[in-house]
Subunit: 295 residues, 2 copies
């Protein structure tokens, strides 16, 4: 586990460096917007999505220049979604990654605009020649990320999540919600390596299935940490779900069954990696990490 | 002028039809989000940007399937920007195109998410094979639109606009602001035809200069209509700028000089179309239309 944590940290450092380069310099009359974009994007985080992009790309011998650009685009999308989710009209969270949320540190209008600009910048980066020499690959990256973060993906999931508050929803509906809200972007991250490596569909499909199970396991642990974790370790307020009367797999199954479910999902995720043999060991370690993390 | 109004109307009808097809059906648990996306996107509007895309593409013999898809993507970006601009934390407008703004008809959270999803959908459409057979062209469309609507384009302009309220800013700064806020997307619309037609850089540059002058003329008339127009004709509240103490070219130059400036800009815009000869007549008519419109 220690060696995996090191790999995760190394990737996080690399992606942070690339992000710093890819975020526009805070110059000109729009400087405040650019500062806001950097404030949230560089606020830390595990960079799990970035790790999944580079790890899957490494399996197919894709260069790090390519995979780190895609990883940066994914982290920008993830950041924009957190910034918008934290808004008063959405989840109304004042703290993010241990620091004031963007709309607190700046203001609401800036938070809306910074999120909007981060989304545009992510697509601009994906489509840049430096991302991949083959324009067909760059188009497929854009198509796939746009689908993953759009109305039938991440944003759709957030919509269902907001509507589900205070409603009595079933475990199956919760799974569907989470597949969209967090699963779709995690799936793109894992498939990005296959897209960059131009590998055959079945291998991409195997990564998709790995991501599916990994994403659900990740979300269950997230909800368990919210229900049982320590706010100061997590860097964000806890017990939010129960205060909002929000249904999660933890509330639907109880913490014990939920934890068992997460373990099963992580094992299942690793099994989908069989076609890749030893090359996928680090992605198996990622599945193990996801269920053993404490923040 | 009547014949131009007809052309504009015909293009609007075509793009509305394509938009209806390209907007996801309101099915599934995220249906409410999809309804919101359609509510704002199909609420009408002149579709001037869509017109500029198809008119510029027509000059280079580009098929309407291609240009209407790009036009739809542009209108989705334009719509998302209006939806977010209308939010209480931004311009706080309750009425848009004569109907309740999206955050009034639905709610604020839905307005944020619908805007986000429209942006993603626009890029997804641009990058689809049906938009153009050449993936290099599709990549250039994505790159160019992302730049036009991002932090150094539309969103950057909106940020400067918000910060400029109640500040005493000069005519030059107002021009810079408007070049970003409305000019960048208008420029993309005009250049889209050149990108789709794979024409030489100087011709694309001529369209860019046309768009630059057209965009400024358009904005001056917009500000004049706000200062002097009739809210019931416009379908939106008027005198907003002066109530907010917002600097515009109209407040900086006075209405007379502003109107003269708009006329000069429209003539200058048309002059940039000289390399295209008669083929560009309809785009010259567009410049004429922009300064003579009453809504």
């Amino acid at each position: 586990m220690a060696s995996f944590a090191n790999s995760l940290k190394t990737t996080a450092d690399s992606v942070n460096e690339v992000l710093r380069r890819l975020l526009p310099d805070p110059e000109g009359p729009e400087a405040r917007l650019l500062e806001a974009m950097s404030y949230s994007t560089l606020a830390g985080g595990k960079r799990l999505r970035a790790f999944l992009v580079t790890a899957s790309a490494d399996m197919f011998g894709v260069g790090r220049t390519s995979s780190l650009r895609v990883a940066s685009a994914v982290e920008m999308i993830h950041t924009y979604s957190l910034v918008h989710d934290d808004l008063p009209c959405m989840d109304d969270d004042d703290v993010r990654r241990g620091e004031p949320a963007l709309h607190i540190a700046f203001n609401e209008a800036t938070a809306v605009l910074a999120g909007d600009a981060l989304q545009a910048r992510a697509f601009e980066i994906l489509v840049g020649c430096e991302t991949h020499p083959d324009p067909t690959v760059r188009c497929e990256l854009v198509r796939s990320l746009a689908a993953a973060c759009g109305c039938r993906g991440m944003v759709g999931g957030q919509m269902i999540d907001l509507e589900a508050e205070h409603e009595n929803i079933q475990a199956n509906d919760i799974i569907r919600l989470q597949q969209l809200k967090t699963g779709a972007l995690i799936a793109f991250s894992c498939e990005a390596g296959a897209i960059l490596g131009k590998v055959a569909k079945p291998l991409r499909q195997a990564l998709h299935q790995y991501a599916h199970d990994l994403g659900l396991a990740f979300q269950i642990i997230d909800d368990l940490l919210d229900a049982e974790g320590d706010g100061s370790t997590l860097g964000k307020p806890v017990r939010k779900d129960s205060r909002r009367g929000k249904a999660t797999l933890v509330s639907a199954l109880g913490p014990e069954r939920a934890r068992t479910q997460a373990r099963m999902l992580a094992q299942q995720a690793s099994a989908h990696l069989d076609p890749f043999g030893e090359k996928a060991d680090i992605m198996r370690a990622a599945a193990e990490f996801v269920i053993s993390r404490d923040r």
